[in-house]
């Protein structure tokens, strides 16, 4: 029964995402659709960072570095693997907005997301393993430094364009394919939110939270804190890598400077603003902080551009004031109730669990 229900749920979600994937770009203004896509990517970044910073209480401030890894690795895969792996993709990277166009791009996108995510996860493991044994503030520095190493490496790798950025294999005339449609971005959004939620409301997830609450007590209760921290880090890095793959195949170009620490701080701001540990808070903050500047810039014209100059100063002040007056974030640590629909499902799930326990 549960299995059937689940299968139906998955099928329905996929269908809705697929339909929206064709409807939205046709119906929405370009600017608005762009905001929708960038918000989706930002949600993936913010929620995955929340797994590390909010749930586990570690302090990673190099999340954009993992996004960079995913973006570059995935883009290199689709560009340089073009002939051997994905010969059916058009060389200029532009697919028709039809169902067959979607199907043509799907294997490449899926492969890019998985490879981008996995490579980022492996690097997360390599970076996290030593530094997570140490006190929290060292992690901050190591993650920041890691982002810098990534930038230096990318800028000195000519195969991915070096400091000029990467748009494809110019000699062979192959561009990064634009295959990151709404479907893929929001499928990942759904998956990352589900992962975070399933973790948050489970005994396994309590181990993560206990590390945040009191590491020494957690150890004394049998929690292998290093392992928990490393898995949070690896999981977070994986989704950041996937977000990078999506970003690269949406923008069809990547710049080393798009993933600097300023960008990392954007994600930290989102997580903190939304409330450390709150999934819905991260989602809302990600949308807000992505949509606001984009929309203001486009709707207010000159005024918007001017606003954008003050935006970063405003973020910084916001962050400071928030920490001074409301350190738990605007939306706090709890979850926002998205109406009765969810509540009924939650209580039903809880009763089901209790009944099984008896």
């Amino acid at each position: 029964m549960i299995f059937l229900k689940r299968a139906a749920g998955i099928a329905l979600t996929l269908a809705v995402l697929l339909i929206l994937s064709f409807v939205l770009p046709a119906r929405l203004q370009d600017v608005v659709f762009r905001v929708v896509m960038l918000s989706g990517i930002a949600i993936i970044m913010a929620v995955s960072l929340n797994l590390i910073n909010g749930f586990t209480g570690q302090f990673s401030i190099g999340h954009a570095g993992f996004q960079a890894v995913g973006a570059y690795v995935a883009a290199a895969l689709t560009v340089y693997g073009h002939q051997r792996l994905f010969p059916f993709l058009p060389q200029d990277g532009n697919l028709p907005a039809t169902f067959s166009g979607f199907l043509t791009g799907a294997p490449a996108m899926l492969a890019a997301m998985l490879v981008g995510g996995l490579v980022a996860a492996v690097i997360g493991f390599v970076v996290g393993q030593p530094s997570l044994r140490l006190r929290g503030d060292y992690l901050a520095i190591v993650t920041l430094g890691f982002g810098e190493i990534i930038r230096v490496v990318v800028e000195n790798t000519d195969a991915v364009g070096g400091p000029r950025g990467f748009t494809g294999n110019i000699d062979a005339g192959i561009s990064i394919p634009g295959i990151a449609s709404f479907f893929w971005v929001y499928l990942t959004v759904v998956v990352v939110i589900l992962v975070a939620r399933n973790l948050r409301f489970s005994v396994e997830g309590l181990k993560y939270l206990s590390v945040r609450e009191d590491e020494i007590a957690a150890q004394a209760m049998g929690v292998d804190t290093t392992r928990v921290k490393v898995s949070a880090f690896v999981l977070g890095a994986f989704f950041a890598g996937v977000a990078g793959a999506l970003y690269a195949h949406y923008e069809q170009s990547v710049l080393p400077t798009s993933f600097g620490f300023i960008r990392s701080f954007d994600f930290v701001t989102m997580v903190v603003l939304g409330g450390l540990g709150s999934i819905s808070g991260s989602v809302l903050a990600a949308v807000l902080l992505t949509a606001l500047p984009e929309l203001l810039r486009s709707s207010l014209g000159q005024l918007g551009a001017e606003f954008n100059q003050y935006r970063l100063v405003a973020y910084a002040l916001l962050l400071i004031v928030l920490m001074l007056v409301r350190p738990q974030g605007i939306f706090g640590r709890g979850e926002i109730d998205f109406g009765k629909f969810f509540r009924r499902r939650r209580t039903a799930a809880v009763t089901a669990l209790e009944n099984e326990g008896r």
Binding site: P130, G145, V153, I216, V268, Y315, A316, P327
Partner: protein, 313 residues
């Protein structure tokens, strides 16, 4: 061999800047157990204040080494004073209210302050780079040759000035009442408070002192390495200097000096190293600091001269 010696000299020059900034990180960490992320940006403000005061004072090229040092002195003092005021303000407004808050909260605030300084300066000074007027002699008089090695007057001024500042700091920390209070607070803040030490004053003093050194570093860096003065210049320098403090052992003042020197030398050696068949290590010089950091954290987490203090249970 000469090549290596030459790079060593360049490394000492760079290292003395790292050391000046690293000292501020290490002192603040000592008394507050906080990574003052904004410290690198205080260095940047120091460079800007130095630039504008040098213009106001109409600083010009000096024919001699001593002349250059003397001309820089007033600029240095103004920048140090301005930066210590800035340091005091940051501490008073942003960090003091959070003294008892979780470390994460304080750390986020520190990042907020850093972003505020960077973006505030971007608005205030614009994004085009500024250049410090020439102070040291140019042409024939610019360098001293010893065999195949050249030492520029820039390097001499930089190293001498940094050494003097560090000597003054060592004196303050070891022989003055305030310095003793600082060491007491960083050893055990609660016990120091019970002994009648005014913790708030000590912390303010530490911030002021650290900021002044960073300001001096900013002026020396801008004036003597001909670097672009930019609002974002502090981020990377700050990061590397922090790494230097960790390498030397965070909380340890001699450690910060040693760590800074090591970092400067390591970076210069990589920068000056020849290419190994298509691979050019010099292009990765900016990553050296962080690779060094990871190695040190793996082998000796407390840093070279630091003491490892596990949390009390």
């Amino acid at each position: 061999m000469d090549q290596i010696l030459q790079q060593l000299i360049n490394g000492v020059q760079l290292g003395s800047i790292y050391a000046l900034i690293a000292l501020g990180y290490t002192m603040v960490y000592g008394v507050l157990r906080l990574i003052n992320f904004a410290h690198g940006d205080v260095f940047m403000v120091g460079a800007f204040v130095g630039f504008y005061s040098a213009k106001a004072l109409k600083v010009a090229e000096q024919p001699t080494f001593v002349g250059a040092l003397a001309t820089l002195l007033p600029v240095l003092l103004i920048a140090m004073a301005a930066c210590s005021v800035l340091g005091l303000c940051i501490e008073r407004l942003a960090y003091r209210p959070l003294r008892r808050a979780p470390r994460l909260t304080a750390l986020i605030t520190a990042i907020g302050v850093s972003l505020f300084l960077v973006n505030g300066c971007q608005l205030l000074f614009g994004a085009d780079p500024k250049f410090f007027p020439q102070v040291t002699p140019t042409g024939e008089a610019a360098t001293i040759r010893m065999g195949n090695i050249t030492i520029s007057k820039d390097q001499m001024v930089m190293v001498v000035a940094a050494a003097l500042l560090m000597a003054v700091l060592t004196y303050i920390v070891n022989y003055t009442r305030m310095g003793k209070a600082m060491r007491a607070v960083s050893f055990d803040a609660d016990a120091a408070a019970l002994m009648g030490i005014n913790i708030d004053r000590v912390i303010s003093f530490t911030f002021g002192l650290g900021a002044a050194l960073a300001g001096a570093g900013g002026v020396l860096f801008a004036a003597l390495t001909y670097a672009k003065i930019l609002p974002i210049m502090g981020i990377q320098m700050g990061l590397k200097a922090f790494v230097a403090a960790v390498v030397g052992g965070i909380g340890s003042i001699p450690g910060a000096m040693l760590g800074g020197m090591l970092m400067g030398v390591a970076e210069s050696l990589v920068k000056g190293s020849p290419s190994w068949g298509g691979f050019e290590p010099s292009r990765f010089a900016d990553a050296v600091a962080f690779i060094l950091l990871i190695i040190v954290l793996l082998l000796r987490p407390a840093g070279l001269l630091g003491r490892y203090a596990p949390e009390k249970v």
